[in-house]
Symmetry: C2
C-alpha cells in the first residue's frame, strides 16, 4: 500500500477550547473546523499548519475510548493518520500484509471523511488511521 | 510564532531495522536516511511519505531519554516536530508566550538540522520540537 502522506497527527486533550487556543498561540495553527465524531464519542478540532494538520480530540463522555486513554495516560499524542486514495483498498492491502485491523471497513470520521483504524500491535505501538482525502 | 508545517512525527521504537521495514511494507514509506543524534543517544531513521516524514528513533544505550521512554511507556508516538524559519527566533517567541522550553538554544539534530524541544507541560502533554528546514 502506498500512503500519500500524513493527513494529520491526532492528539487527545481534556479541554478542546483551551488546546485550540494553545496551538493557535504557540504555532500559529489555523482552525479548519470542529465537529463531533459520534462513532468515537469525541469532539474534534482540525488545525491546519502548512500542508499538515493537527487533530485535537476530546471525549464527549466517559464511554469514549479517548476518555479511557486520558484516564490511563493523560493528554498526549493519540494517533497518526495516513492519506490514502481509497480506504477499503488500503484495508485489503494492509490485511494482506498481516496487519491487525480495528476496522474491517471504512466508517465516517471528521467532516464525513472515510476513515479506518489499524491496531497499534501491528505498527510498533502506534494507533494508525487511514483517511481518504485529497 | 508561525510554524510552516509538521516536519515529522517522531516515534520511539526498540528495533530500528524492523520498524523501518514495517513502515516500508505497510505504508510504502521511503527511507530518506539514517544517522545517530549523539546528544540524544539515539539512532534515527527518517522516512518520507509524500510531503511528510516519520522519524523512527531507537536508543543507543540505557542512558538515552528514549530508552527511559520505552521502559516506561513502550514503543509509540514520541514527539511532533514543527518546521520553522529560524529555531532561535521561534524559541524566543515561544518563551515570550510563556512556553516552557527544554532547550534555550538550537542544537544539532538528525542530518545536522538545527532543532530544539519544548516541554510537554506547555503543549497539552505533547513533546514538541522546532526544526529549521526547507
Amino acid at each position: 500500500m502506498q500512503a500519500r502522506g500524513i493527513h494529520h497527527v491526532g492528539i487527545a486533550v481534556a479541554d478542546l477550547d483551551e488546546a485550540v487556543e494553545t496551538y493557535r498561540r504557540l504555532f500559529g495553527a489555523e482552525l479548519e473546523g470542529r465537529g463531533t465524531i459520534p462513532g468515537q464519542r469525541v469532539e474534534a478540532a482540525s488545525l491546519v499548519l502548512g500542508e499538515s494538520r493537527v487533530e485535537l480530540v476530546a471525549p464527549l463522555d466517559g464511554d469514549s475510548t479517548v476518555a479511557r486513554f486520558l484516564a490511563r495516560r493523560g493528554p498526549g499524542m493519540h494517533h497518526v493518520a495516513y492519506r490514502v486514495d481509497d480506504v477499503q483498498v488500503a484495508l485489503d492491502s494492509l490485511a494482506g500484509e498481516g496487519a491487525r485491523l480495528i476496522d474491517n471497513e471504512p466508517h465516517e470520521g471528521l467532516f464525513g471523511l472515510q476513515v479506518a483504524f489499524l491496531h497499534p500491535d501491528s505498527v510498533h505501538g502506534v494507533l494508525a488511521e487511514v483517511v481518504s482525502s485529497d
